[in-house]
Symmetry: C2
Subunit: 154 residues, 2 copies
């Protein structure tokens, strides 16, 4: 087995033992060196965003002092959910390696297929009501930002 996936699995196992959250681990690597390791801690932290990949990204960014992780790879025990996938994208990580698929994850009860289906426009949300409101008023702040001298695009 790939050595970094094996480390990510160790993380996932630690999470199971400690009842920290779901059985998922992630490792971020830069030029062959491990920068950060994390496992799902949604239950321990009472934080729905505390997925393994999010925690690993936040730690790697803190260690490297940059939101840009384009010199890094991420190893995840399972296919990242849409939240984590988009976070990996925003972090500009250049390579994502994962073990089990979204179907494997759904089999044990972590079913994020609804999110994919909604993003694809193939399902409606029952859990969440979506309301669009005050678009013009909110556009003003986008315009303010566009006109700001020296703004940092990222």
């Amino acid at each position: 087995m790939n050595e970094f996936l094996a480390l990510a699995l160790e993380e996932a196992r630690a999470g199971i033992e400690n009842d920290d959250g779901g059985p998922f681990g992630a490792v971020i690597v830069q030029e062959g060196v491990v920068i950060s390791k994390a496992h799902n801690e949604v239950l321990r932290r009472n934080d729905p965003t505390a997925h393994a990949e999010i925690l690993a990204i936040r730690e790697a960014s803190a260690i490297l002092g940059s939101f840009d992780l384009s010199t890094c790879e991420i190893y995840s025990t399972s296919e990242p959910c849409p939240m984590c996938f988009a976070a990996i994208f925003w972090a500009r990580i250049k390579r994502l390696v994962y073990g089990t698929t979204r179907e494997d994850v759904a089999e044990i009860g972590f079913d994020d297929s609804l999110i994919y289906d909604v993003i694809r426009g193939e399902a409606e949300l029952e859990q969440m009501e979506l309301v669009k409101l005050d678009r013009e008023g909110c556009r003003a702040v986008l315009e303010e930002w566009r006109r700001k001298p020296g703004r940092r695009m990222y």
Copy 2:
């Protein structure tokens, strides 16, 4: 304008003034009471996950002591990106109210349309290489979790 969107706009403006990140704000409300407010702080925190919605969710979960925010609504100045949308889903927030659309946001340079397209299967990633590896080895940890007595499903 809706009072909570107005508060979220104040947050977005504070972020612009402080050069904290993109011009986005979010507010979480429970039964008419503001629980948390946040704006994008990707630049200030050097954290690519520090979008307004993620920060507001993390703070609300810490304040309420729960990863389950199903008694809450979120007000966002702009349509949440896929990362934030999925985070709102995982937090079980019951109502999402937003101002500007993903197209408005793309106009000022924050273009998350590629993430939507990839999730829809309509685009390939150039930025990120995807590798599936060691699926069977990684399934073992999912099985371990499934067999664990007293595991908390969430």
